[in-house]
């Protein structure tokens, strides 16, 4: 893994907006063929970190360097105004010139090739999510950034999509940055987990991170529904943290 090409590197990077630091002191690396996962509570700066990597946001501190030639992005939210008539095939081509074979191939991979001529506005949340992923992989990026890619997808679809993401990283041999809430997936397929809360709380292999006291503190002191779900996920193997969650 280590001899693989370094795609992007953040060194002590931070973004300062509206008189506060959204994130600060972020250092990380993504290499070719590697899946790096960012987890953290709402507002912890996961999307901000992704946007620094993608050069959407300029850093106010630190450095972003890298040799990724082609980056592709699956944003968390995307609203296409109804005034724009847009079919899936048009949407696939917005940032790169692809031929129909390339488009169909990647739509087949995400299982939505039948929707090629459908209006974007008529798709369900899950279908749209698959189209978003298909669009991102169609251009064969060397770095793929997925921000909560399984939202709006039902449970079975979620497993299929996570398997697909693993498949993409193998087939395209690209680096993947994944922003995820799902610890199951993180445990099984990611190479490196970064736990974020404005700064990097802890990082390492998935099995090490869930044992880290910082991680337990972060997900134990919050009470939101999603977070108690995490709690539940690692409760069965970490009964000793009952004192924190009360």
């Amino acid at each position: 893994m280590d001899q693989n090409k370094l795609l992007v590197k953040l060194e002590n990077a931070g973004v300062y907006r509206s008189s506060k630091w959204l994130v600060r002191g972020i250092s990380l690396e993504i290499n070719q063929g590697q899946i790096v996962t960012l987890i953290g509570p709402n507002g912890s700066g996961k999307t901000t970190t992704a946007k620094m990597i993608l050069n959407i946001l300029n850093t106010d501190e630190g450095l972003v360097t890298g040799n990724a030639n082609k980056m592709a992005y699956v944003p968390q939210k995307i609203n296409i105004d109804w005034t724009m008539p847009l079919r899936v095939i048009d949407f696939m081509k917005i940032t790169s010139s692809l031929n129909n074979t390339q488009i169909t191939e990647s739509l087949v991979m995400t299982g939505v090739d039948k929707l090629l001529y459908n209006q974007i506005h008529s798709l369900s949340g899950g279908e749209f999510q698959r189209v978003l992923i298909a669009r991102a992989i169609a251009k064969k990026p060397d770095l793929l950034v997925l921000d909560e890619p399984v939202q709006g997808v039902d449970f079975n679809g979620e497993i299929a999509l996570y398997n697909l993401i693993k498949e993409i990283s193998v087939n395209l041999n690209c680096g993947i940055l994944l922003i995820s809430h799902d610890m199951h997936f993180v445990m099984s397929t990611t190479d490196h987990v970064i736990c974020l809360n404005g700064h990097i709380c802890c990082s390492g292999s998935p099995s090490n991170v869930v044992k880290n006291p910082e991680y337990i503190k972060l997900f134990g002191e919050h009470n939101s529904e999603t977070l108690s779900y995490y709690q539940h996920q690692h409760d069965h193997s970490h009964n000793h943290d009952g004192s924190i969650s009360k």
Partner: protein, 267 residues
């Protein structure tokens, strides 16, 4: 052919409609109709200055509208004032300054109605040249940045992440908008230019299923509106700008009826 004032108006009007088609689509996709209004209101100030310093109207309007557009872009990043308030502030203050200045220039006889609503009698051979030459430049640049501006219209973050340079194309697009106002102010008038940007594009929306189709249909609708509007302006002795806009509105209403019947694209 150019001897007849009506032919001149027709040729200039069709030239304008070809340019407002694609720009109008972008204006409604990007929800910039009020932005367009602000630029065209400021155009009146440009016209007044053109008279005061005896320079070409289109050039003067382009400079003023372009300046206002760039001012808006930078103010939007700096002030806490909401976007629409900022637009209103600039729209009305530039309009007011223009009208105040007209008062000072009492030695020159102004056709205020003509400035605000357009005048077909005023179209000269030089104007035709300005419309078609300026229009070709605008379309050429738009064609060149289309991929980038379109990607930025669909989603800014996607465009930025995937190397489409959305900030640059936004900046250029804003200047193109000032350009189209500059070439069409004489025909359509300061108050109604946005109508020619919006209404044909809105008509095209209900008749199209992809972006390219919408651009082509909005050009066609614009051309038909210009022809219908100018003929009725001639027959009924009405101002050219409002006549064109009314014709566009009639086409829009017709498109809604056919749209409902086919039911192809339910909201």
């Amino acid at each position: 052919m150019f001897d007849d004032f009506f032919m001149r108006a027709l040729i200039a009007g069709i030239g304008i409609a070809i340019v407002t088609g694609p720009l109008g689509c972008l204006v409604i996709w990007r929800r910039l109709s009020y932005f367009g209004d602000t630029l065209s209101h400021s155009a009146l100030l440009g016209v007044t200055l053109a008279y005061a310093f005896s320079i070409n109207i289109s050039l003067s309007v382009f400079i003023i509208s372009g300046t206002v557009a760039l001012l808006l872009l930078s103010l939007q990043k700096r002030t806490k004032l909401a976007g629409d308030s900022l637009l209103g502030l600039l729209a009305h203050s530039t309009l007011a300054i223009g009208l105040v200045l007209i008062g000072f220039l009492s030695s020159i006889r102004f056709d205020l109605m003509g400035l605000l609503f357009g005048d077909i009698l005023a179209v000269t051979v030089e104007d035709i040249f300005i419309v078609w030459f300026g229009g070709l430049i605008i379309l050429g640049i738009l064609f060149y940045i289309w991929k980038s501006i379109f990607a930025a219209t669909v989603n800014y973050d996607l465009a930025a992440a995937e190397g489409m340079k959305p900030d640059l194309s936004n900046f250029i697009f804003t200047l193109l908008l000032a350009g189209v106002i500059a070439i069409s102010i004489k025909m359509i008038g300061a108050l109604l230019i946005t109508g020619l940007l919006l209404i044909p594009a809105a008509t095209a929306r209900s008749l199209s299923s992809n972006p390219r189709q919408m651009v082509i249909i909005s050009i066609l609708v614009g051309i038909i509106s210009v022809i219908l509007g100018l003929f009725s302006s001639l027959e009924l002795n009405t101002a050219s700008g409002p006549s064109i806009i009314v014709a566009a509105l009639v086409l829009f209403i017709l498109s809604l009826i056919s749209f409902k019947r086919s039911g192809a694209l339910q909201k």
